[in-house]
Symmetry: C2
Subunit: 264 residues, 2 copies
Amino acid sequence: MGVVYLIGAGPGDPGLLTRRAARVLRRADVVVHDALIDRRVLKLARSARLIDVGKRGFGRRTEQEEINALLIEQAAQASTVVRLKGGDPFVFGRGAEEARALTAAGVRVRIVPGITSGLGGLAAAGIPATTRGVSGAVTLVTGHGTGCDPLADVDWQALARVGGTIVIYMAVRTIDQIAERLLAAGLPRGTPAAVLENATWPDERVLEGTLGNIAELAQREEVAAPALFVIGGVVSWRTAPAPVRGARPRISSLGRLEVQPEPM
Amino acid sequence: MGVVYLIGAGPGDPGLLTRRAARVLRRADVVVHDALIDRRVLKLARSARLIDVGKRGFGRRTEQEEINALLIEQAAQASTVVRLKGGDPFVFGRGAEEARALTAAGVRVRIVPGITSGLGGLAAAGIPATTRGVSGAVTLVTGHGTGCDPLADVDWQALARVGGTIVIYMAVRTIDQIAERLLAAGLPRGTPAAVLENATWPDERVLEGTLGNIAELAQREEVAAPALFVIGGVVSWRTAPAPVRGARPRISSLGRLEVQPEPM
């Protein structure tokens, strides 16, 4: 029986992969990966068979149960099986479900954490998650929950009152509903807000606005998945010029912060 | 004028450093680093002068203003200056303050995100930050705030009601007060809770308990900084044997999950 490594590939930029992830990929026999993994990261797995279970656009996504079964099957045949996921496997990644299924089947599992896009994507775009005197907490939450109501997993009224930064994953379809709930909960319309499309990828776009106008801005700019939605005073601490088609880039008074992608 | 790289070193384990961080360190002229950076990471900076601004135990910590001034001074003399911080520079790291001071002084700044210990430390210990049907959100918060009341930065009453995982950084001195506030806010005494001391380091300890008994357990086990305090149903998803002196390791029914440290 082999070992299955649950590995987080980080937000997208291949330079943000961890050294351990790279090392394990180099000796992997099989890599079962999501969509949205940079080709340069997959190329590290030079002797591995690559299995894409996250097709988008053409073909349906593989069901979670099928992925679990596939991993168990591969572990019986290969010594190093990698399950490569975007971001961190344990933050909205269903990694815990995979670890549970694997250990229940007697397969050994090792975890290699990655940078979650909600924090790494923000940082790479120049937006701090917390800052003294501005935000003493950051909540990562999904805009695409488990039930019929995609926002039912969390008490948004309470979240608005916590007083920290709010970062919403998979928010594209629900930006307007989320903004509405947070406004209804008492957050001011002028609260700084931003939407990051394709965070850390070369075609990243950052839209800056306020809780009152960000949904309209995102609609006008036709923001597509994957996108992060950030709410809080920290957005005003952003210092990078926003590379946004159409929208006016909002450059803060703090000076210029370079966030150009660099070679891996 | 040189460039200052604000780099996150991750939770501690040198294998969790990003590839870009390693690359920049290798060509750094100066590295201004915190305490709690693994020696193997500092050794990557083979041609750099190392300046430790985070002494602990002996000597006071360098004040933030002095660090800012030092970075500006170094940037005037060297081409590649690294400011190396534990975790992620933008999560309770004061990185935004440093970026602000540097850009205000006309110094170019680049950000290299790292894995924040509140998520990476949890994952490496086998505890997911979120899991479908268990927790749809995770809040990172500090137990050591800015004012006279270390817990005044956040509305704990509201936080208890959000319904997600709560991860508290720098919680050693305030575990009892935090537990009290969350219980007063209505969280059940039986809510799973854990304390991670030295997360991802070889001498890591993980204490598992409940919101009702974790403060007493941490006191009995003499938990010392740095420690993370985690509250939420995700703690029950932990599958690793807890390597805790004295305390009974609590192994869930999910099987065995290997989380042994591996070579870098």
